[in-house]
Each structure stands twice: as structure tokens, then as C-alpha cells.
């Protein structure tokens, strides 16, 4: 399906003021295998169709925020929620004029919670007749997962997790099991939040690869309508099963325009050209010390981040010494013990811990996995209790003219 050139992402990059992304940051827009015009009632049928053989996870309202959780009906989805997101500030409201629309922005909890649980027993052993017997523990979810309402940044984040946890040389069994046969319905963004910068990272506001269905809310008077496009055969089968009204010719253009308008309304931006090199050239930049003075080393940024996946293990024994279990839990590079080796922690200073996190997200991730570790969802900015902003910190370090002095490879660690 040919599109007028004006709708291509690269064009709007120029409109944003020359913030050109690095090469390969923008994937060409995938073609739709089937398209339908979706009314609110169709959505309930869609959820019911999915729920037949999936555990359906969607954005819901809990404790004054939008979080991802299991749903049984479309009515549980956080329709109508508008989230105001700013550094260290999140407020959810339900303005009447937004009713029936998908909740804006990325949910407070990242989708990784369902794919990469925060706590998991990875093995258990019991002493039986003087022998240690290992019991099987995690056989994956009983039902396939269906993630419904995934924003483009979060869709990209799943791809970032796939690289190390599913497609790498050491796949993670628990992750791979949850990921197998997973269905994804992505919702493209037409109303970005104050901390969003997916456009800079090439991950949104349009949905890249990884979704079976892509939904775009269309403006206009009358009852809410959305365009539903299938990107995979599973998605196309769902469109057929739904039997919704066929999308008119101009719906795709209308959807594309709405998403493209969002691109120009990002709350934040980050110049990603040569960013890894520009960051790593400033390993001793004084800004690291400035941010360290403010950073609480609480790790909230890493837990809120949809691509951070570090864990630690703890061994558990019962009082009698008869059963042992190994528990795997989310960990963070901000804790002192994270870098504990024989003799002590390698990254004791908050400066080295913040620098490790930011440079891994934006620079060394490229070396490891060929992409950025950041998808521009802005959660680390919103959920940092003191509002440290990755886009400002990265720019402050990277925008400095290159100088001589120690770089990452020669610089002392702590």
C-alpha cells in the first residue's frame, strides 16, 4: 500500500528541527494484512475471542494509576483515563471528553511484569532418603498470554527484552515460556505524555514490528471508532473472526495523520545521532557528579523501565534444613550489592552507579544487542522520586565538545 511521502516518519523528523535518529532507528511501516473499522462493541467481542485461549492482560485502573493486569471483559480496561506525566509526578484523571478512549501514555507498571516476573522460584530441592531431589518449578503460564493495549514504546521494549532473554545464546526459560505464542494488540499513540520521547528513539508513536493487531483511534464526532490493522496471520484471523465493518479507503490515511501529529507533540526529545560515542567520550564528565548528588540510588528508574531485566538470586532453606529453594528477584544496578565481588562492591559511588545505568541504556546496549536499551517511554523520568530526567542528563554529557582525558576504557571505575 503506497503512502504519500508526507506521512513517512523521516519527513517529520526534519520538522522536529533536525533531530535525525541514528541509522536504522526507523523501521519502514509494516503493511496491514487486513483492516477493519472497530466500534466499542467489537472490542468486547475481541477480548472474548482472545480470552478463549489466552490470559488477557490490559491496562486497568488501580490505586489512582493505570497498571497492567489480567482482565476478563473489555469493561475492565482503563478507558477514559488521561495520565499527566512529568518528572516525579503522575496524576490520573478521567475527563468526560476522553471517555471510551484508551488510557494515554505508558502504564505505570511496565509489561515486563508479566513476561519477566519480579519474583520467581527457579528451583526447589528436598532431602529424601539422604539424597537431594530437585523438583520442577516453573513450567510457564498455563495459558498463552495476550497483551492488549500495548503502546508502541512498550511494543519495542518487548523486542529489546527478546534479544537477551529469548533470542540470545542463553535464553531465559521462564521468559521464553511466557513469550511463546503470545498475542499482542498495540495501540498507536495520538496523545503523547509530558515525559514521552519515543519519536526520538524511533519506537513510536507508530507501532513498529511485534504486534499482531495495531489499533489507531480515529477522531471525529459520533461514537468512538478505531482502525484495526492486522500485521500477522494470527491478527488477520482475528479480524476475520470479528467480522467488523471493513475499513474505508481513507481510514488508514486518517489514522496515519493522527499518529503523525502526535510525533510533533512529544513531551521530550533526545538527539540520538552518534549518541553512544558522544556519551562514552565523556566518562569523566562533571555532570555525572552533579546528577549523583541528586540521585537517591533507589532504583525506581530501573524497575519502571520496560527493558531493564537484571535479577539476583537468593537461596532459601527451611529451619529443618530439609528443603532448599532458589528465588530469583528483580535487582537494580543502583544497589550497592549489585556490583559486589570478592572484596567489595565495584560501583560504590552513586556517580558510578548512575553512569553505569545511563550509559548501558543509551550506549553499551548498542554494542551488546545492536539497538538502544531505551525506547523513550519516559517512565524513568516520571517515576524517579526526585525527577531526574534521562534526556537532560544524556544531553548534558553528550553535547559537550569531545575532550581529551580518560574515556570509558581507561577511566577508573568508582
Amino acid at each position: 500500500m503506497a503512502r504519500p511521502e508526507i506521512f513517512f516518519p523521516a519527513v517529520s523528523w526534519i520538522r522536529l528541527g533536525g533531530l535525525m535518529p541514528g541509522p536504522g532507528a526507523i523501521a519502514p511501516r509494516p503493511a496491514a494484512l487486513a483492516a477493519a473499522l472497530l466500534a466499542q462493541a467489537d472490542l468486547e467481542r475481541l477480548i472474548q475471542l482472545l480470552a478463549r485461549d489466552h490470559r488477557v492482560i490490559a491496562p486497568v485502573v488501580r490505586d489512582g494509576a493505570v497498571v497492567c493486569d489480567e482482565i476478563r471483559t473489555a469493561g475492565e480496561i482503563a478507558f477514559g483515563a488521561v495520565t499527566e506525566q512529568a518528572p516525579a509526578r503522575y496524576r490520573m484523571t478521567m475527563p468526560g471528553d476522553h471517555a471510551a478512549r484508551w488510557p494515554t501514555g505508558p502504564p505505570a507498571t511496565p509489561w515486563k511484569r508479566v513476561l519477566h516476573p519480579s519474583e520467581l522460584t527457579i528451583w526447589r530441592a528436598v532431602r529424601r532418603d539422604g539424597r537431594l531431589v530437585f523438583e520442577p518449578i516453573d513450567s510457564g503460564p498455563p495459558r498463552r498470554l495476550a497483551l492488549v493495549g500495548v503502546r508502541p514504546c512498550d511494543l519495542a521494549a518487548i523486542g529489546r527484552l527478546d534479544a537477551p532473554l529469548r533470542d540470545g545464546p542463553w535464553p531465559d526459560a521462564a521468559y521464553a515460556a511466557r513469550r511463546r505464542g503470545m498475542f499482542v494488540l498495540a495501540v498507536q499513540c495520538t496523545e503523547p505524555c509530558g515525559t514521552c520521547f519515543c519519536a526520538s528513539m524511533g519506537t513510536g508513536p507508530d507501532a513498529g514490528p511485534g504486534a499482531d493487531l495495531v489499533l489507531t483511534e480515529l477522531d471525529g464526532a459520533g461514537p468512538a471508532r478505531s482502525l484495526l490493522e492486522a500485521r500477522t496471520t494470527a491478527g488477520a484471523a482475528m479480524v476475520v473472526a470479528l467480522g467488523a465493518a471493513e475499513a474505508p479507503e481513507d481510514a488508514a490515511d486518517e489514522a496515519h495523520l493522527a499518529v503523525d501529529r502526535a510525533r510533533a507533540r512529544m513531551g521530550r526529545a533526545l538527539d540520538t545521532s552518534q549518541l553512544p560515542a558522544r556519551l562514552l567520550a565523556h566518562f569523566e564528565h562533571p555532570r555525572w557528579e552533579t546528577v549523583a548528588k541528586k540521585c537517591l540510588t533507589c532504583g525506581n528508574c530501573t524497575f519502571a523501565c520496560p527493558t531493564c531485566f537484571c535479577t539476583t538470586v537468593e537461596d532459601r532453606l527451611d529451619l529443618a534444613g530439609e528443603t532448599a529453594a532458589r528465588l530469583r528477584r528483580w535487582d537494580t544496578c543502583f544497589s550497592v550489592d549489585f556490583s559486589y565481588m570478592h572484596g567489595g562492591s565495584v560501583r560504590l559511588s552513586p556517580r558510578s552507579r548512575y553512569r553505569q545505568w545511563l550509559t548501558h541504556k543509551l550506549a553499551t546496549w548498542h554494542e551488546q544487542f545492536g539497538t538502544s536499551g531505551c525506547v523513550g517511554c519516559g517512565r524513568c523520568i516520571t517515576w524517579c522520586p526526585v525527577g531526574i530526567d534521562i534526556t537532560l542528563e544524556a544531553a548534558a554529557v553528550a553535547d559537550t565538545a569531545p575532550r581529551t582525558g580518560p574515556t570509558r576504557r581507561t577511566g577508573a571505575h568508582p
Binding site: D63, V67, A108, S118, C298, L317, W330
Partner: protein
């Protein structure tokens, strides 16, 4: 084969409310297993019988607030192979360390009709200020799970699995929506050691800091953020001056705002 003699456990009380000792009785299901593996030689909350030392494991609750207690703790240390302090009173001086910020004589004369009978020290101090402590269990009160982990680790000669990170880690693992960000509540989670399982944020309250400061806490940045958000100095002082008021990092931070 005869079972080797059970290790002997003693529980001691100093200035405290008994809540932490009660965590041991609160173990209910596991209590029998504990009693099966350890000889409870001294635990007045549970039994009047006092067994003589030496003790393999002493759990010490409470802070040192009187000249007599300052002597007694040395005798207990001498009689104990491993001495573990339990709870905020024992590890930092407890809520009674609020006296450390004022003249205790003023309190004594305000509270007691005949103050001359009261023999007390100017400061409430943690056990570790007086004797060598092998391990500290934080909390007001301590966590039952951590207590069992400690006893298990002691019995099996392991290093206990105890967090050294902040409450936010437990909060996020639990999937709690951050009350500091979503509701603007003051929360001590980012500077407080984990262990409670982030109970307060899970119930919509900011963390009160019951487990005391985490290693290398940036209390100054948290307080600065609160000031920027319009919190009064007095509120900041009070936030850091509760159950762990005398813990070094919290004490310094509260004093920085107390003018």
C-alpha cells in the same frame, strides 16, 4: 545416633516495648520447629525459667538508657557466642532516642512526680555502641520472615539473606504504585533499608523509615526535593526523627533542618 546437644537460645530485653521479642512468639507455625532445633534457655516472654549461660545465640531487644543496663549488656555479651540485636531500639536507640535531641532532665521532671528516683542516661544508645554485635535485625518491629531467616542461617552456618537496598526495591517488586510520585506523599522508601516488604506504600502511605537508613542513603537529596515541593522544615525534621531518629544518617539529616 544421639542428636548432638541443641544450641542454646537466649532473648534479652533492654529499653523497648517487647514487640520485637513477640515476633518470635508470633512465628506460630515455625515456633515448634525453632523449639525443636534450639534450646530456649532464656526467654521471659515465653517462660519464667532462666537457664544459665553460656548461650549460643542471644537475641537482644531494646536500647541502653540506664547506667545499670550499660553494665548488664557486658555480662550478656560475655555469656553469648553470637549476639544479634533485634529491632530499631537495639540497632539505633529507638523512638526513645528522641531524648538525645533535648535535655532529658526536662522530660524527667515533666513526667515523674518524684524525679529524684529516676536514674537515667542522657542518651538512648544502640547496643553496638556498648558491645560487639554480630548481626543486626532492623525494623520497628522486626520482620518475622527475617527473624526466621536469621535463625535458619545460624543453625545451618550460612550467611543470612538480608537486603541491603532500599524499600523502593521491595515496593516496585510488589507492583505498588509509588505514592510519592502518584500522590505527592512524603515517602522515606528511597533512603530506608528494605525488610518490611513495603507495607506502608502498599496501603497508600509513605514509608516511615522503620528499618532505618539503607547503606549510603542520599537523605539530603530527598529532603531537598521535599523542600522544593513546599514542605516545611519542621515536617522534614519530624520525618527523619521517628523510630530511627538516632541512626547516624537520619540524625544528621534531621539536625540539618532543625534550626
Amino acid at each position: 545416633m544421639a542428636r548432638p546437644q541443641k544450641p542454646r537460645l537466649a532473648v534479652w530485653k533492654f529499653a523497648s516495648c517487647d514487640g520485637c521479642q513477640l515476633s518470635l512468639l508470633d512465628c506460630e507455625d515455625e515456633l515448634l520447629a525453632v523449639a525443636d532445633r534450639l534450646e530456649i534457655a532464656n526467654f521471659l516472654e515465653a517462660s519464667r525459667a532462666v537457664g544459665r549461660g553460656p548461650y549460643d545465640l542471644s537475641l537482644v531487644e531494646g536500647s541502653i538508657t540506664t547506667p545499670h543496663d550499660a553494665e548488664r549488656i557486658h555480662a550478656i555479651r560475655r555469656a553469648s557466642k553470637v549476639l544479634v540485636t533485634i529491632g530499631a531500639c537495639a540497632t539505633s536507640g529507638g523512638i526513645q532516642a528522641l531524648r538525645n535531641f533535648v535535655n532529658v532532665r526536662d522530660y524527667v521532671s515533666a513526667v515523674y512526680p518524684t524525679p529524684q528516683y529516676i536514674s537515667t542516661l542522657n542518651k538512648s544508645t544502640p547496643i553496638a555502641d556498648h558491645v560487639f554485635v554480630d548481626f543486626e535485625l532492623r525494623g520497628c518491629p522486626i520482620s518475622k520472615t527475617q527473624l526466621l531467616e536469621l535463625v535458619t542461617a545460624f543453625l545451618h552456618k550460612q550467611k543470612p539473606a538480608m537486603p541491603t537496598y532500599g524499600v523502593c526495591v521491595e515496593c516496585k517488586r510488589r507492583g505498588v504504585v509509588c505514592v510519592a510520585v502518584a500522590e505527592g506523599l512524603p515517602c522515606l522508601g528511597p533512603v530506608t533499608q528494605a525488610g518490611c516488604g513495603a507495607i506502608c506504600p502498599a496501603f497508600g502511605r509513605g514509608c516511615y523509615g522503620c528499618f532505618g537508613p539503607k547503606p549510603l542513603p542520599n537523605t539530603a537529596a530527598l529532603a531537598a526535593h521535599w523542600s522544593e515541593a513546599g514542605r516545611r522544615r519542621g515536617d522534614i525534621v519530624r520525618a527523619f526523627r521517628t523510630y530511627n531518629a538516632a541512626a547516624e544518617a537520619f540524625r544528621r539529616e534531621s539536625e540539618a533542618h532543625d534550626t
